[in-house]
Every structure is written in structure tokens, then in C-alpha cells.
């Protein structure tokens, strides 16, 4: 729990009442825990759902839609090619190939994206779908079937998202669970890239998947800060509202004895789009308490987490 605001207006109340009531409240429900808490799903399930959602969108596109420019110099087909390339690197990563440990996320997939040109859209889609299936197969094989069961179960609970890094991919060192949430995050981001290019409404992951995504991104803010060079330490009280949200206390930056404090309240989906570098902080509905300049640095750190 964080350092709570100093009592400011408990006048007229019996002594000790404030502390007693707040202690009873935290006992009833720990600070930081959203209410209602969405149903827990595994990172593998979140990845599978994100893949299904993107596949569902691709299934509705006509041949011309696949040629609509989406991102960088990629049309829809090229972007799906990028995803095939990333999935192939994931396969190599899961097979223990160190060759993908430090390659660039975009550059590494470029040849696969380029080779989609001239292919039929359904071929590209089928190849990507197979690649996703192969990822899920490798994940299941890695988890291994429990003794006495014929078929492998779903992966462990998402509490393992912050578990020990064991994999190396595209400059990241991360656990299997974290990798799968990162992948779900990317699929959702690119699904919305395509939706935006096609003039379709944006998709929102279900609360269970969102909870995994926010649970990945919020504690990773120091990593983004390291990329942007945040400077003096700042204690961030981050409140993400709406389904899949929660509250996190994170310290960014290093050095100094008394970090400045900033409270940032914003919507869960907007924050995830910021982390994907798809919106600017100015586009978000924000409630900020504390130094606004420091808050802007924190938001820049969030956007620096994007893989693109």
C-alpha cells in the first residue's frame, strides 16, 4: 500500500476512528485490487483470444481491403506478413535459438512482410493462422502435460506474468507468460491499426485480457523511463479506470531521497493505446495531481514501451 494522503478534515470525529475505518476497509479489499475483478485467464488464452479477434476481422475483409495502407510502408497484407515474421521469431525463441535474442522487432520481420506482395490474401491469412497455431503448440509443449493427464492443460494463471525471465526475443528478456501477453498486446494493436485504416470502430479486449495487459504495462513504466531518460525519481500513483483496470504505485528514475509524487488517473483502454504508441497523452482523458511536467514524462515513458 502507498503512503496515504495526510488527514485533512477528520475534525469532529472520535479519536482513532479514521485509522480504524480505513484499516477495516483495506482488510475487506486490498488496495489496488479492482472491483469487480475480471475472471482470470492465462496469458496463452489472452494470446489465443487476440489472435481469434484479428482472424475474425481478416475474414471480413475483401480483396481490395488487403491493399489499404496501414502502418509504415505496409498495407494490410504486409502488416499480416510482419506478424508472420514475428511469430516465426517467437518459434525460434521458444526453441532456444539465440539468433533472435537481440534482433529488431520491425527489421527482423521485414523480409516476411515483403514476400507477401503478389500473394492471394487468403494465403497470407492462412500462413499467419498456421504460425499462431505453431506458437500455441510450442507453448503447450513447453508447459508439458501434468502427470496422469492425456492432453495438455491451459497454461498457469496470469500471476506468472512477472515470473523469472527465461526467454530472449527482440532485445527483451522475459518469461513465457510475459511474452504471451506482449504478443496479445501486439495483435490487439495491429487489429486496431487495420480497423482504423478500414474505417471500422476500434476493438476493445475483454476485461480479463485487459487486466493482463495493464498488469504488464503499468509495472513496466520504469523500463519506458529508462528509454526516455526520466531523470530524478518520481513516485507514480497510477489509477486505470474501467474494466481491466487497477491501481499501481511505481517509482521511476533513480537517485534522490524524496521522490516527487504524481497521481495519474486515466481510462484503461486509452492507457493501453498510449503504451502501444497509438495515441498521444493529449488525446487521453487524464486527471493529474502533482507536477504536470513530471506527469508528462511518465506518460512519455509509457509510450516508449511500444514495440511498433
Amino acid at each position: 500500500m502507498t503512503t496515504l494522503p495526510h488527514p485533512s478534515a477528520s475534525g469532529g470525529l472520535p479519536a482513532g476512528m479514521r485509522e480504524r475505518v480505513l484499516a477495516a476497509s483495506w482488510q475487506a479489499r486490498p488496495a489496488g485490487q479492482p472491483e469487480p475483478e475480471p475472471a482470470e485467464i492465462s496469458p496463452a488464452e489472452a494470446f489465443r483470444r487476440a489472435a481469434d479477434a484479428l482472424d475474425g476481422l481478416l475474414a471480413t475483409l475483401g480483396d481490395d481491403d488487403w491493399l489499404v495502407p496501414v502502418l509504415r510502408d505496409l498495407d494490410v497484407q504486409g502488416l499480416v506478413g510482419h506478424l508472420i515474421g514475428v511469430e516465426e521469431d517467437v518459434h525460434r525463441c521458444l526453441s532456444g535459438d539465440p539468433g533472435v535474442a537481440d534482433t529488431d522487432h520491425v527489421e527482423a520481420s521485414q523480409p516476411v512482410a515483403a514476400r507477401q506482395a503478389g500473394r492471394r490474401a487468403h494465403q497470407t491469412r492462412a500462413e499467419w493462422r498456421r504460425a499462431v497455431g505453431r506458437t500455441l503448440d510450442l507453448v503447450r509443449a513447453r508447459a508439458g502435460p501434468p502427470p496422469g493427464l492425456a492432453s495438455p492443460p491451459e497454461l498457469a494463471s496470469p500471476s506468472g506474468v512477472a515470473s523469472t525471465p527465461e526467454l530472449a526475443l527482440h532485445g527483451m528478456r522475459l518469461s513465457l507468460d510475459t511474452l504471451l501477453v506482449v504478443r496479445a498486446f501486439e495483435l490487439w494493436t495491429h487489429e486496431n491499426d487495420i480497423r482504423q485504416a478500414a474505417g471500422l470502430p476500434l476493438a476493445v479486449p475483454d476485461p480479463s485480457a485487459l487486466r493482463l495487459m495493464t498488469g504488464l504495462a503499468a509495472p513496466a513504466l520504469p523500463l519506458g523511463a529508462a528509454r526516455t531518460g526520466l531523470g530524478p525519481p518520481v513516485h507514480v500513483h497510477l489509477v486505470l479506470t474501467g474494466p481491466g483496470g487497477g491501481t499501481w504505485d511505481v517509482v521511476l528514475g533513480e537517485g534522490g531521497r524524496d521522490p516527487a509524487s504524481v497521481r495519474i488517473v486515466t481510462g484503461t483502454v486509452g492507457f493501453c493505446r498510449l503504451v502501444a504508441n497509438r495515441v498521444a497523452p493529449a488525446d487521453l482523458d487524464l486527471d493529474i495531481t502533482g507536477d504536470r511536467g513530471r506527469a508528462a514524462s511518465v506518460l512519455a515513458a509509457a509510450a516508449a514501451l511500444a514495440l511498433d
Partner: protein, 186 residues
């Protein structure tokens, strides 16, 4: 993000402990005052305040910002909880009185119990005066004289079934009157 109360509600749902602290510091004195006006007794009013805030924190979705300000929601909740306390205290007193009548050797209630009982009972006695005569009679016999339904029927000269139905009707009216009286007084 909506008005200030909508933002607070969203923060509570997100598990923002700072939001609850802010709400407590701003509204606890009002909530405590509302409970105190109904109960007239500090310890019980503190329990009500704790119930109200723990409930708000545990189930933030029960507060709908579109239905009204948070301040009103919490004070009404406090009054209802306080009225519930009075009712349960009355039931306890009635049970105790009946028990004393049946077992005279039982130790008497403590002075604290008597004070609370007196305050609660005085509210009810006032409300009983507004009941129609026939209903007032059965309530007085059942609750203030501690008679059973059969004894009430005999004393009032009516069938036992009639005594029961009059008692049920009277209690329903009393609850309505008690709520109105307590809300008006707070």
C-alpha cells in the same frame, strides 16, 4: 471522465486507496453526524460509519453517480444502517423482556443497554401513538406487555388469527413511520 463524484467512483472501482481516504476525510463527519442523530450514541454511530465506508470500498458499484451526489448516497446509507440498528435493538429488547418474564431470576440488563433501549423504545412509542386504535392495542399488548399472540387475542377479545394479522399490519406501518420519522429528524 464525468463529474467529481463519477471520477471518485471510477477510482474506487479501480482500487485507488487514495480515493477512499479523500472521501473519508471529506464526508465522514457528515456520515457520522447522520448516524449520531438517529442513534444518539457515539459507539453505535461509529460502527455505522465503519459499515458505510467498508461497504463503499468493497462494493463501489453500488453507488451510481448518475443517481445523485456521493454525499447524499452515504448519508442515506448511514441513516438506513442506523435505523436497522434501532430495529434490531428493539427486537433484542422485546426478546429479552419476554425472556425476563419467563425467567425472573435472570440478571437485569446493564445501564448501557438500558440507555440504548430507552432511546430506541422512545422512537417506537411515538410511532405507535399514530397507529389506528385496534392496531395500537395489539402492539402494546405484544411488545410493551410482552404477551404472546394467543395472550394478545384473549386480552383483546379477538380471534388469534385476527391478532396476528393486525400485528403484521401494525408492524409494517410502524416500519414506514419509523423510517420517515428518523429521516425527518436527521
Amino acid at each position: 471522465m464525468g463529474g467529481p463524484d463519477a471520477l471518485l467512483a471510477a477510482r474506487l472501482a479501480a482500487g485507488d486507496d487514495h480515493a477512499l481516504v479523500e472521501i473519508f476525510d471529506r464526508l465522514a463527519p457528515v456520515v457520522y453526524g447522520a448516524a449520531l442523530r438517529v442513534l444518539g450514541e457515539g459507539a453505535a454511530a461509529q460502527d455505522v460509519v465503519q459499515d458505510v465506508f467498508v461497504d463503499l470500498w468493497s462494493h463501489p458499484g453500488r453507488y451510481d453517480p448518475e443517481a445523485g451526489p456521493l454525499r447524499s448516497f452515504l448519508t442515506v446509507l448511514a441513516r438506513h444502517r442506523a435505523v436497522d440498528l434501532v430495529r434490531s435493538e428493539l427486537r433484542r429488547i422485546a426478546r429479552q423482556e419476554r425472556h425476563f418474564r419467563m425467567a425472573p431470576g435472570h440478571p437485569p440488563p446493564s445501564p448501557g443497554d438500558e440507555v440504548v433501549a430507552w432511546e430506541a423504545a422512545s422512537l417506537v412509542r411515538d410511532a405507535v401513538q399514530h397507529l389506528p386504535g385496534a392496531q395500537r392495542r395489539v402492539v402494546e399488548l405484544a411488545y410493551f406487555q410482552g404477551l404472546t399472540c394467543r395472550e394478545v387475542a384473549l386480552a383483546a377479545g379477538i380471534p388469534e388469527g385476527t391478532a396476528k394479522s393486525r400485528l403484521r399490519l401494525a408492524l409494517a406501518k410502524l416500519e414506514t413511520m419509523l423510517d420517515r420519522q428518523l429521516l425527518e429528524s436527521s
